[in-house]
Structures are given as C-alpha cells and as structure tokens.
Symmetry: C2
Subunit: 339 residues, 2 copies
C-alpha cells in the first residue's frame, strides 16, 4: 500500500480493500497469532491462578492527532492500560476499533498504528481484536480510536474508589496538568522556553511496583479528564469521606503553572495521561512513596493530603496562604477533546 | 435531564455534566451493580468450568441512526454478541463507548440506549463498562458507538474460519440482504408494497441450539459488511478449500431481490445483521438444519452448498441457468456505513 495514499470509503467495505488495509497496516504492526487468525473474535486462554478479570473501554477523539510526548495511538493504549491498572489488574489484551475519515493520509494512520504497537510492547500487552470503519469526509475528524482492555486481578487485590478510609494518605505520582496544557499550547500555537510535553505513559509497571510495596493500597485513580480535582471528588463521594489536600505539596511544573495563569485555568482541573492518585493506609505510605519514586513514571511522587472523617463527600484545599477552600468537581468544559 | 435537551461539549468534560449524563441516561438503562460502581474498569468473576474466553470489538457508524427493524444501539449490541457467537462463545459482558456529536438530541440518545439495554436483556448479557466522548458539531455524524464483548468458550468447542473440510455442508440461517437493502431504501426514500425490515438480531441463542445439535460444526460466520459472498471467500481462503453454492438454494426475499435488480446490486454482497453461515460435517447437516429451523432466527435456514477439494480459495456459484461463475470478494464499496 503506497504511503502517499489516502483512506477511501472502500477501505470500510468489509471487502478486498478492507482486507488489504488489515494485512498491510494493522497485522504488520500488531503481529500476533491471535490477531492473524482474522476470526470474528479472539479466543484466549484463562490463567489458572487468578479468579477475576477486569474489563474497560475508552474512545479517543483527541485533537490534534500528534502532540509532543505522544499521539492518539499511544494515548489509546495508555488510557486503557491505565484504567485496568487502577483496579489493580495486570493488563493483558486490548481490542482496537478505528473510525477513519475518508481522505485520512495512510501515512498518518500507519504512524499512529506503529506508535500503538510500540506502546503495547512497552506495556507488555497484545492487541488481539480490531475493527475498522470509514465515514465520508466531514463526518469524523481524522480518526477516532476505541480501545477495550482485559486484565487479570491477582487474588487478594481489592482496589476500588469506595475504599478510602479516614487516616489514609493521598499520594500523587508526579506533576499535574502536563498533558492538558501541552494540548492547549499546541492548539493555540503557543511556544515557551521550556517546551511542554504530555505525560502520556502506561502505568501498569508503576502500579505493580506500588502494590508490591504494600497490601494496604485502598484506591487508585488516574486523573484524566476533569483533572486531579474531579478524581478526588469522585473518591470522596464514593467512599463517603472527606479529603484534605495542601496546595504547596502538589507538584506542578513551572511552565504548566505559567500557562495556566496566562489562560486563567486551574491545574487541578487539567487532564493528565500518565499520573495516578494513590490512597494508602498511613502505616505503608512511606514504603509506597519510596517504591514509586524509584520508578521512571513516579520520580516526582508526593504526599499531597489525607482522608478525613470531616466533611464527607467534599475535598478541601489548604492554600499557599493558609486559607481553606472547597474544591468541587469540574463544572462545564475546560479543554474539549483532550483525550 | 430534560428530554428536550441536547448534547453539550461539557457532557464530555469528565466533570459534573458527564456524571449527570452517566447517571441519568446510561446507569438508568444499563443498571447492574458492576457498572454502578463507576470504577475505572469492571472487575468480574471467572467461571470455573471453562478455560478460554473470547474477545471482540466493533464500531458502529450506521446512517440513518433509526431504521425499520432496529437502530444503531440494537445493532451495536447484536453485532458484538454475534461476533462472539461465531467462535462458539457464550456472550456475557459488553463494554460501550459513545462518541456523541454536540447538539445530538438527548431524546435520540436515550431512545438508542433504551434499545441497547432491551437487546442486551434479550441476549442475556450485561453492559459492564462504558465511556462517553463529545466532539464539536460537524466533527461526527450524530453518534458513533463502539462495543467490545467478552464471552466464554465451552470446553470442547473449537470453531474457526480455518476448519472447513471437503465434504462439509454449507447452511445459511435465512434470507440474505434484508439489512443492507432496508438501509438503502431508507436512504433513497424508496417505499414498497412489502416494506423492507432489517434482520438485526442477537444470534447467540441460535448458535447454542445448533451447537447442541452437533459437535461437528466446523465454521460459523455472520455475513455482515461484504455480504455472503465475502464471508464465503474468507472461509475458502482461510481453510484452503473450494466452496460450491447453488443460486436457487439461497433464500432471498422477493422485495430484496426486486430492489437489488432495480439498483443493479447483487444480494450476495449485501450486508446482513441477523444471519449466519454454518459449515458442518455432512453426517450432522440434517440435525443442524432441523435445530436451526425450530429457532425464531433460523426458520428460513437452507443448505446452500458444499465444501470441495477443487479450486481451493475460490467460491463457485452454479446459477439458475445451470452455468457456473466465480464469486469473488467484494471489491470497492457498495453501501457505505451499513453498520
């Protein structure tokens, strides 16, 4: 298939051109025996030592398709790997559904698929089933990707948004707002002395490391759309606890802070794609923090607050000035199509 | 949420309006404890008596969203249930990813979600994970849905497109072309004395019935995009066998045949959404056919041909006139956005 080509409606026909696209782009990069069977569904073995599995899905509509630190393909793999990881599951298999706009350069598609395959390898997972649809020019914006993921939940691991307990410590794995402000700066054509780079990364290795360090990890969440503030509110509501965080303890890059101030945005609400929030029993907080800091995606990990009995369902921020304010869930839309 | 409302960009923010949409539309209709947890991934139990699972995905971009016999929601459940069924898997769990266009009437979304929930109940499966994205007006066409599905493959069941053997009998479960020509007639605003209705249906019950009747079912495929001709070509190529079919044995409704002739289309290439092709050992063909005919989605099942040693990889049609012609895979695009 010539790289100078473009997606045609017939690439979505289910006929010969669909088969060519599957073989020359998707199978070429996602090569594994299960996918190569080209059956209607992948058939996969169970693993004898675990009794539960995790299942999740996300669609990706990010604009622009390519950005510093990643692209829609890398994001589509990381996002779903991370959602599985947030339940303590070990991600194993991914499906990939593509909705392509007629006229999309094949070169762009292949670049994205190559990036997905590289990210899948890095995360140690396989893309085992897929689908491609094509819509007429003007009926989609370049391409949209859906990934669904299956992971295994090791026996004894029970992590959910409902398990935060008063006294627990809240840790964030690194600087917040990098992804959202990178996309924003790309869209607005802004450039800085310190270039912004998305934090887009697969977090299953970091989760494995922190679960190794403690069996008292109660909650894990990745603060994507809606940012850290929204995720903390979700945890406070689900667990019926209060959360107190300290502004000065939350890591934010100065370039991100600067752009947020310029645009009147609050980094607490800006999306991340390679960060996670851990709620862990106080007794293990030190060990978990240390384990995270030795991992490449947790070097800037920091304790940012605590779970409290007071004000259940609410998140309270102690500001740099020493005052307190309630941090609500994101209301309205801050940065559309951030993932 | 008022039914007269429309989708706003903020419904995709991940914040408060996203949560409202999830609770007031998705959880309302897909109510089950797993989904209600609103965690990043669903955690599900294994079933002890099976050792393999099936995984598949499809995106749905059909236009129009509503049509006689179904809608994009029903189609999105049936299509993925059917893909799992074609491996002999018992479908259990579905994920649903929605890409909504800003301005989509909430009433349309709720009608579609209601239809998905009803179809899921009819098929005996649960929607356990989901995701919603919103793109600006003009960047999608109403809505697109992705579903991924997980099913269990009973021990001893081994069905794949590579297992057709010379001497096997080819059965189709009913009339072909109903879905494709229904969509075509809707788009073109054509009406007929006998109204066309899509065959959109979940086939897991039919598959269970035919697998009960025989342990010598070698292949199952649902002839969706690309139609019966494309599916037979896939089986011939994968199994390295020839296939011979008889034109007069292939069931086609007269309204479908008539519209195909009017538009210069061949029903062999027209999409179906509630039909399947069975390749079964000759010794069990009679029992399988009988079992299919007693099922609501197999009343018009018919033997249409045979697997042969001659012309491996090729499908040959014996016409009503007694001549033979090679039936190739669909080349080009016949009916875009048929599913």
């Amino acid at each position: 298939m010539p790289k100078t080509g473009k997606i045609l409606m017939a690439h979505g026909s289910g006929g010969q051109l669909s088969h060519d696209l599957v073989e020359q782009v998707f199978l070429k990069h996602f090569h594994n025996p299960t996918l190569a069977n080209l059956d209607d569904a992948a058939v996969l073995p169970y693993f004898a030592n675990d009794s539960r599995f995790a299942l999740t899905t996300d669609s990706y509509v990010i604009h622009p398709l390519f950005f510093p630190g990643g692209d829609i393909g890398k994001l589509a793999v990381c996002g779903t790997v991370n959602d599985l990881s947030m339940r303590g599951a070990r991600p194993l298999y991914l499906t990939a559904g593509f909705i392509l706009e007629e006229g999309l350069p094949l070169e762009d598609l292949e670049r994205i698929v190559t990036s997905m395959a590289a990210t899948a390898r890095a995360a140690g997972i396989q893309v085992v089933a897929g689908d491609t649809k094509v819509v007429e020019r003007g009926n989609a914006d370049g391409l949209f990707i859906n990934t669904a993921g299956v992971g295994l939940v090791p026996d004894g691991v029970n992590i959910s948004g409902a398990d935060a307990q008063a006294g627990d410590v809240v840790i964030v794995s690194g600087t917040i707002g990098d992804h959202g402000m990178t996309i924003m700066s790309q869209r607005e054509g802004l450039s800085f002395n310190t270039p912004l780079v998305s934090d887009c990364a697969p977090l299953n290795g970091l989760v494995a490391a922190l679960l190794e360090a403690s069996s008292a990890v109660h909650c894990l969440r990745d603060p994507t759309r809606g940012g850290l503030a929204t995720v903390l509110n979700e945890l406070a509501r689900r667990s019926r606890v209060g959360i107190e965080i300290k502004e000065t303890h939350i890591p934010v890059r100065s370039a991100v802070q600067g752009l947020c101030e310029l645009l009147g945005l609050d980094p607490l609400y800006v999306a991340n794609e390679g960060k996670l929030v851990v709620v862990v029993a106080e007794k293990d907080a030190k060990e978990v923090l240390a384990a995270m800091r030795t991992h490449e995606y947790g070097t800037d990990a920091a304790v940012i607050g605590r779970i409290v009995l007071a004000h259940p369902g609410r998140v309270v921020l102690r500001t740099a000035l020493g005052t307190c304010r309630i941090v609500d869930m994101l209301v309205g839309e801050q940065l559309p199509r951030i993932c």
